[in-house]
Symmetry: C2
Subunit: 334 residues, 2 copies
Amino acid sequence: MVRPTMEDVARRAGVSRALVSLVMHDSPKVSAPRRDAVLRAAEELGYSPHMMARSLASRTSTVLGVMVSDLRNAFFAEVVEGLDAAARDSGFELIINTGGRRASREQRALRSLLAFRPAGIALLSPVLPVKSIDAAASACPVVLVSRSTRLTNVDTINDDGEAGSALAVDHLVSLGHTAIVHFDGGSAANSTSRRRGYLAAMRKHGLRPEVIHSEHTDAAGAKAVAELLQHDELPTALVTGNDFNAIGAISALEDAGYDIPGDISVIGYDNTSLAALRHVSLTTIDQPRMEMGRLAAEALVQRIRGQRAEPVRQLLNPTLVTRATTTEPARRQR
Amino acid sequence: MVRPTMEDVARRAGVSRALVSLVMHDSPKVSAPRRDAVLRAAEELGYSPHMMARSLASRTSTVLGVMVSDLRNAFFAEVVEGLDAAARDSGFELIINTGGRRASREQRALRSLLAFRPAGIALLSPVLPVKSIDAAASACPVVLVSRSTRLTNVDTINDDGEAGSALAVDHLVSLGHTAIVHFDGGSAANSTSRRRGYLAAMRKHGLRPEVIHSEHTDAAGAKAVAELLQHDELPTALVTGNDFNAIGAISALEDAGYDIPGDISVIGYDNTSLAALRHVSLTTIDQPRMEMGRLAAEALVQRIRGQRAEPVRQLLNPTLVTRATTTEPARRQR
DNA sequence: TTGTAAGCGTTATCAC
DNA sequence: GTGATAACGCTTACAA
């Protein structure tokens, strides 16, 4: 388990350590024969540079710290995948910690990351207090995904939840719907902006908004439908808080004898992989999650390279994915 | 961005660097007043130890390298989550790289990880050649998840795909089914053992097996049903290669006018989050994915601590999750 | 072009 | 208990 060092390579190649260092960074100012000798010696010994030692000596880092609440959440997993791809392109490695959406655990995770003196840190939807974020930002560049801030030394990458909900409402209105109800996402981080977008869009079209409180699960979607069924008159369309909620709602509506989309159109949010299943085929709102990860990494790299000082405020546009759960309203109201 | 060092803390507390080091490791052989002085100085300066320097000087590492093909795959995301939890419990951090299931990329990812001189490495379902794995194992402890090996210096954590399929067949047989068809997973890494388990279980029960070639997607499931419908006589039950395939099959069968499970019982594999949706409510086979991650981390930690030299060969038992897509066969055959 | 030597921020081994 | 001092594996002026 004891690996060869630069010293070993130097000795074997009959040169100095500094020369080996130059070769490893393929510096142009090394003569061909020496370079070959070094490369051969390294090859024979199975030498590979020691990143930590390199980092320490050069006072630079090729590590990007990432704090994510939970990788099982497909949203974060995709953002991390985007981060990873962009980081690799720029020669960085990811060191990942989970925070479980609990401030205390996030605090610890952040401290661990900082101990590696990373070149930059990406915080995905953190619940950390602003002062912790500010403190981190004074140690290295920081980018926030799915969270806003006024800190000018911190970049942010967000998806435009208001625009997404507006897209959903606009789509339904263009199909002829006027009675459109929103199932909201309760305490989830993104539900406020989604609700706000729904309300604004309804008002814009001169329609009366109605919000039923729900959560981001299929059980909650079914429960919200139960509540809805108490009404004298049913809406012709539903804008749900996310795909799971939509699936639960559809299932409950079908159980109650309604046809989707014949009787009621339903639209989800997130375009999770299940929305694409032919069994589900859910019309929904897509956010460019991988893209968000890429942009986060790029924002960090720019700051690391000192190419930018002003904060970046990315607000990504969601798009509508039309599938089989939305159509024109039935004529039953006449 | 220039952070205080141990030297700074020592100076401010009026002690030597060595003493600060002792305090940071809360060594018992430091007098209370000195310890307090050091702690206060550290606090005031916002000092935090430099992991890389510590690693270098102590010739130890608190880093676990992880290579995963794709975090968007829920299976791997959950395994990583388990790794992360167990690593944190033992004081390790994860540094993650993706390999995209391409040997060349995996090779590069592995090299990157090794450059950090990690304490151990976890390879999730790698397609790397054995010799690369062996080479890595000569640098540090290595654990393989979802891949077997004869290398005795490498541990493996696998789920028992044969047992899982047998569980599915046994369940159906106990309900009274005899005409049970398998949709296999094609070129996927796990499909061979699942198919083998199906075949063995059918033989065990004295039943005639029938395999229809398919893939791990819902579209493939639907396609396999189309093929099935050419038959004169339909089976009463389906053992599919995974949950997506099952959903696609169910959807296609319903479109063709069959009731699930009234006419045909269907069983999935993986217990993905979508199987639990009430709209789907799929009977399926569950593998303890988080647990696999935990065990992988523990295997590494044991080797790192020198507590074990013999290889670990974990074969985890899957379990049957009974939901709404399986029931007794209809009597139509009489 | 190549070598020398002084760090980088720690830990570890000694003396005291 | 506490403090020098020599590593750890590498980079980087600066000399040669």
